[in-house]
């Protein structure tokens, strides 16, 4: 794998972070990774990110769940029809409960799956391009760029108010 170079700025303030993002984007550095201790709308807006595609996972899961609920209840009831209390073998009103529950269950599981896949969560500690302070009170911007652009990026970060700037290979 070809090593890419990254520049890594650490900020204390959210407005400086947002400013840095805007400037970097203006300078056509689009490959940014921003870290924050909490979800921040300002940062997201500055990054102009697209809507998360987790929702499609949710939709698929929920639909699948509803279908499962419907088929499971109807088909198993018909498989060995047993009469209880003069009620029809396929009693849709109670079956709707299963449709609902399975919609929720499958929807939630699919959302979880969507979250895990899309945000690429994996079970090891981040080693590169990360600072433990991000989970505390610092903001960070990692800019992936060519070696020749490193200086430029560093300059933008520092100008925007970065406390520190580091270099790392990705």
């Amino acid at each position: 794998m070809i090593k890419e170079q990254g520049v890594f700025g650490i900020f204390s303030y959210i407005d400086s972070t947002v400013q840095a993002i805007k400037k970097l984007r203006e300078a056509d550095f689009k490959n940014l990774r921003v870290f924050s201790p909490f979800p921040s709308h300002e940062i997201e807006e500055a990054l102009e990110r697209r809507e998360s595609i987790v929702r499609f996972f949710t939709l698929t899961g929920a639909t699948l769940g509803a279908l499962c609920g419907l088929t499971l209840t109807i088909l198993t009831s018909l498989d060995w029809p047993i009469r209880t209390s003069a009620k029809p073998i396929v009693s849709l009103p109670p079956f709707m409960i299963f449709v609902f529950e399975l919609t929720v269950l499958f929807g939630s599981l699919a959302t979880l799956l969507g979250l895990l896949i899309n945000s690429r969560l994996r079970r090891n500690a981040p080693r590169v391009m990360y600072d433990p302070r991000f989970s505390e009170d610092k903001f960070g911007i990692a800019v992936v760029c060519k070696i020749e652009d490193i200086r430029k990026v560093e300059e933008i970060l520092k100008l925007s108010g970065a406390d520190e700037v580091q270099f790392e290979g990705i």
Partner: protein
């Protein structure tokens, strides 16, 4: 000895038990059971591993047994002197169910609870396993039959050598027939006496009949033909003479049909179970029935309504002239109008019948009372019509209490050297004041033939346990018209020997008797004796054919017409006075025979112990019934322990507040309070006989049961009175409904809706059948035979007092009783069982389909699928489901009785009435084999079969012609809690009442 094992099941495991017969290959051998016998199944389920099972074949196959196929044998029930005919079901060599013999004119197929429970006598775990003799240290120890018999032989030889043959006494219960003859002859040959002792022997009835008509006998009564029944304390539906017979006849008389029914008036201080079925209860002052009868007679005679000759009328008029209704009213505390009204009704509704002589109401003037009742019957023209002196009871042959008392006296004087006791338990049934136990100690040698270790047997020197009725040959003649055959249903369970065989076998060893008693076995003796009957009754028949036919049918049944009798001269000599009561107390003490335990002999049968008393619903214990007014006065609530003190002793038992008893009377049932008699009877309840004085009915010498006045006081101790129904009121919910005769006649009554009402769902489809039931409340007398029959048929466990206290009795059918106080005091019974609802609330709530509605309308319960959520029971409108809180066990050999066609349930599953699905399937299978449809009435569930009054009708509702589908549309029909729209398959027919005056 073979063994069948099934993993984790409570099915009968045949193993060597103490005293159980273990060797030999015999006819109807139950020990070498073919291993593939399904046995009684237990349910496990889940992923239980398969047990390693053994299959054990017969060595020699018995000739009559095909494993898996039941055989029925006819016999005669000996649980009380009534002698009902029975059919006993044998599966794989074991008796598993008793049913009434439909051919018997006594019970016509019905039984009582005691009859059903005879099986628990047979399989009682506390039976004496073999002969016992008293050793040097004074303890009874097992011995061999040869040895035991030779001890008796030596004893007899010794007594005879001293020339004391007249000091031999054979004390038995009323055993008529061949055994009676054998014992009579045998003891006479020895020079001794045979004394017949029955706890309830009704001497006053005999004596009164002798005085009135010159016949010293107990007649039979044709209750079924009467239109008006007036009973002076005769508990004919419980223990009086022949309860199943009279229950059946009563239901014919009193059951509503063709827009009419007979009327029944019960005169007694305590409303008994019999009284509950009456249309009117007259709470008379105890012991004054004679005056009421005379008052009624007076009223009839003074109206000139009597059907007697003028000479007799004069004679009678002289006798009754002092007893004008207003005078009588003062003595009896019965209103004058009631007396005149009853008099009018009694003569106008003919044929009528007056009965008397219930044990509980037998006072020291009982003979006079019964004479007065005889007069009533006579002037109403009933004698020779509904009173049948042609067909009399053999109970008439019993010795009187006075004779028993003199026996006790001679015993204590040392005038008895050898006492042989069979089937009686005088230590328990005689009052303590008679000092029987002390007298018994004076008898040098006592032999008991009892199969159970009762109070008397405990004191015997030699115990030679007899077979129970279901294990031996014999015969019994309860009344002149019936010769019942007793045949063994199975080989003996324990190492017992028939008393007849013992007598015959020891006779061989006593010189002088060998020739007279030459039969090898009692079976031969019996056949010889029946040869005599055959020569008498059917001289032209071949004996073998005659014998086989009678054994198959269960006996000889004849009809004997009433004979005409006239009033004797002696009547005019009778003088009437109030009976004597001993004791200074203010309260009359009534000890009444229990329809569950009779005189106490039923107490060792767990089914009877757990059968709720119909009125109180109490189980496993004794109680004292006390009027709420009296209770309030002494500050007593239900469950309080009361001390009842007579001059002769003191008993302490729990109070039951009962409006059906006079405020000046308390009542305690007889039957419990055993000091021994096995684990189920021992130290349970109290025996009211203990505090009774030795007072006899003066004229007849019969025991005067109602002869004591007592003091009642609170002890301060209190416990829950264990009973199965707490609520006494039906809260106006129309569970047990009634309708008056007038309403029915006029047709002005609510017609219940029979048409299909609007439903969300399409009507259900039933393939071929829809099983249903109808229950006629006008016939139900609350006797509990159905309950016990259900226990027997469906392997229902007995849970014991502690569990019933938690209302965990397992009975699938219960007799609910509701008190009504709006218009006089009145009790209604309603048998409550699974209603097999068309819209069963229990079904849809089961998550695993353990209960569902099948194509024949059955509400099925699949035990092995049940996980035990108990939701079905919560949702059951009728609360008829039972849950197995534990795995219940049947102590060996009670488990031999289990029905192999019904699963034995283990802990954690629900169960309930199945309409006896095993019988339904059996009937359907048979019909299919014979390529026909199931006939109406062919399939009968155990409860319907046992019912002596034929309350329950079972059949196919889909078949428009069946009896049950007609009854379902009956004008009296209703369904319990119909408004819940459960659409039950059971139609109840409303009880019919006479309009209250």
């Amino acid at each position: 000895m073979s063994e069948i094992k099934k993993g984790g099941s409570t099915k009968p495991v045949l193993s060597k038990g103490e005293g159980l017969i273990t060797g030999g290959i015999k006819r109807r051998d139950f020990l070498k059971i073919l291993g593939v016998v399904g046995g009684t199944a237990a349910i496990t389920g889940g992923c239980s591993p398969e047990p390693v099972e053994k299959i054990i074949p017969y060595v020699i196959p018995p000739d009559t047994i095909i494993p898996g196929i039941p055989k029925w044998y006819a016999s005669t029930c000996m649980e009380c002197p009534a002698g009902c005919g029975i059919l006993v079901k044998n599966r794989e060599g074991r008796a598993i169910k008793i049913e009434g013999n439909p051919l018997s004119p006594i019970n016509s197929g019905g039984t009582c609870a005691r009859g059903q429970a005879a099986l628990q006598g047979l399989y009682n775990p506390d039976r004496i396993g073999g002969p016992h003799t008293r050793n040097s240290s004074g303890r009874l120890e097992p011995t061999a039959w040869d040895e035991a018999e030779s001890i008796l032989v030596e004893k007899i030889k010794e007594i005879r050598s001293k020339g004391n043959g007249n000091k031999i006494v054979f004390l038995t219960n009323n055993i008529s027939g061949s055994l009676n003859r054998l014992i009579d002859d045998w003891v006479n040959a020895l020079g001794g006496r045979h004394i017949v002792y029955e706890t309830f022997s009704h001497e006053p009835l005999k004596e009164a009949n002798r005085i009135s008509f010159g016949i010293n006998k107990i007649p039979t009564y044709h209750i079924e033909e009467t239109k008006y029944l007036l009973s002076f304390g005769a508990d004919m539906l419980e223990t009086w003479l022949s309860p199943v017979q009279y229950a059946r006849k009563f239901s014919e008389m009193h059951g509503y049909k063709n827009k009419s029914m007979g009327k029944f008036v019960q005169v007694e201080p305590r409303l008994s179970l019999t009284g509950v079925s009456a249309d009117e209860w007259i709470a008379i002052r105890p012991g004054t029935e004679a005056f009421l009868a005379l008052g009624i007679a007076n009223a009839i005679l003074s109206e000139g309504a009597a059907s007697v000759t003028s000479g007799e009328a004069d004679k009678l008029n002289r006798l009754v002239k002092d007893y004008k209704p207003d005078v009588v009213s003062l003595i009896t505390e019965v209103p004058t109008e009631t007396i005149t009204r009853i008099a009018k009704e009694f003569v106008e509704s003919r044929p009528s019948l007056a009965l008397g002589g219930g044990a509980a109401n037998t006072s020291s003037k009982s003979t006079e009372t019964l004479v007065a009742i005889n007069i009533l019957n006579y002037i109403a023209g009933n004698v020779g019509d509904t009173v049948n002196f042609g067909d009399t009871l053999t109970l008439s042959n019993a010795n009187s209490f006075r004779e028993i008392a003199s026996l006790v006296d001679s015993m204590s004087k040392g005038e008895v050297e050898l006492l042989l006791i069979y089937n009686v338990n005088p230590s328990f049934t005689l009052p303590k004041t008679l000092r029987f136990d002390e007298a018994l100690k004076k008898v040098p040698f006592v032999v008991s033939f009892s199969s159970f270790m009762d109070e008397t047997t405990e004191q015997a020197n030699l115990v030679l346990p007899d077979h129970t009725t279901l294990e031996k040959w014999g015969d019994y003649t309860p009344q002149d018209s019936v010769y019942g055959v007793i045949q063994p249903i199975m080989d003996p369970v324990f190492n017992t020997k028939s008393i007849g065989d013992v007598i015959l076998s020891i006779s061989k060893k006593i010189e002088g008797l060998e020739s007279q008693f030459s039969s090898n076995t009692f079976y031969d003796y019996l056949r010889d004796s029946w040869r005599g009957i055959q020569t008498r009754l059917a001289p032209d028949k071949d004996f073998e054919a005659f014998w086989t036919d009678k054994v198959e049918r269960g006996g000889i049944y004849r009809e004997i017409a009433p004979i005409q009798v006239r009033l004797s001269q002696e009547v005019s000599t009778v003088s009437f006075s109030e009976p004597k009561f001993e004791g200074e107390g203010a309260i009359y003490f009534m000890a009444y025979p229990s329809y569950r335990y009779y005189d106490g002999r039923g107490a060792n049968k767990p089914w009877l112990q757990e059968l709720p008393d119909a009125i109180t619903t109490a189980v496993w214990d004794t109680w004292v019934e006390i009027n709420p007014e009296t209770a309030r006065k002494i500050g007593v609530k239900e469950g309080d322990f009361l001390s009842i003190e007579s001059p002769y002793g003191n008993i302490t038992t729990q109070a039951y507040i009962y409006k059906g008893i006079r405020p000046d009377t308390i009542a305690v049932p007889i039957g419990l309070g055993h000091k021994s008699y096995g684990r189920y009877a021992q130290n349970r309840g109290v025996n009211p006989i203990e505090i009774l004085p030795v007072l006899t009915d003066e004229a007849s010498g019969g025991f005067a049961w109602l002869s004591t006045k007592v003091n009642v006081s609170k002890t301060g101790k209190r416990e829950q009175l264990v009973k199965t129904q707490d609520s006494t009121s039906q809260e106006g919910r129309g569970i047990a409904q009634a309708i008056t005769l007038k309403e029915l006649e006029s047709g002005v009554h609510e017609q219940h809706e029979l048409g299909e009402k609007f439903d969300m769902y399409p009507p259900q489809k039933y393939i071929k059948h829809r099983w249903g039931m109808s229950i006629d409340l006008s016939k139900c007398i609350g006797c509990g035979a159905c309950v016990t029959a259900c226990y027997a048929e469906n392997n229902i466990p007995v849970v014991g007092k502690g569990q019933v206290a938690k209302r965990r009795e397992m009975s699938w059918i219960r007799i609910e009783r509701f008190y009504h106080e709006d218009n006089g005091f009145d009790i209604r019974f309603i048998p409550m069982l699974c209603q097999h609802c068309g819209n069963a609330p229990c079904e849809p709530v089961c998550p695993v389909y353990a209960t569902y509605h099948n194509h024949e309308g059955l509400n099925a319960m699949i035990y092995n699928r049940c996980v035990g959520t108990r939701y079905c029971s919560n949702n059951c409108t009728y609360k008829v489901r039972r849950f197995n809180w534990f795995t219940y066990n049947w102590p060996e050999p009670l488990n031999w009785q289990l029905n192999p066609d019904v699963s034995v349930r283990t802990k954690g599953v629900m169960e309930k009435c199945t309409f006896c699905v095993q019988r339904i399937r059996f009937g359907e299978d048979r019909a299919r084999d014979e390529e026909r449809n199931v006939r109406d009435g062919e399939i009968i569930p155990a409860c319907a079969q046992a019912c002596p009054t034929k309350v329950i009708v079972f059949g196919d509702l889909k078949d428009g012609e069946s009896t049950v589908s007609h009854l379902a549309k009956d004008e009296r029909g209703y369904r319990v809690l119909q408004e819940v729209n459960t659409q039950p398959a059971i139609t109840y027919l409303k009880k019919v009442t006479w309009d209250k005056a």
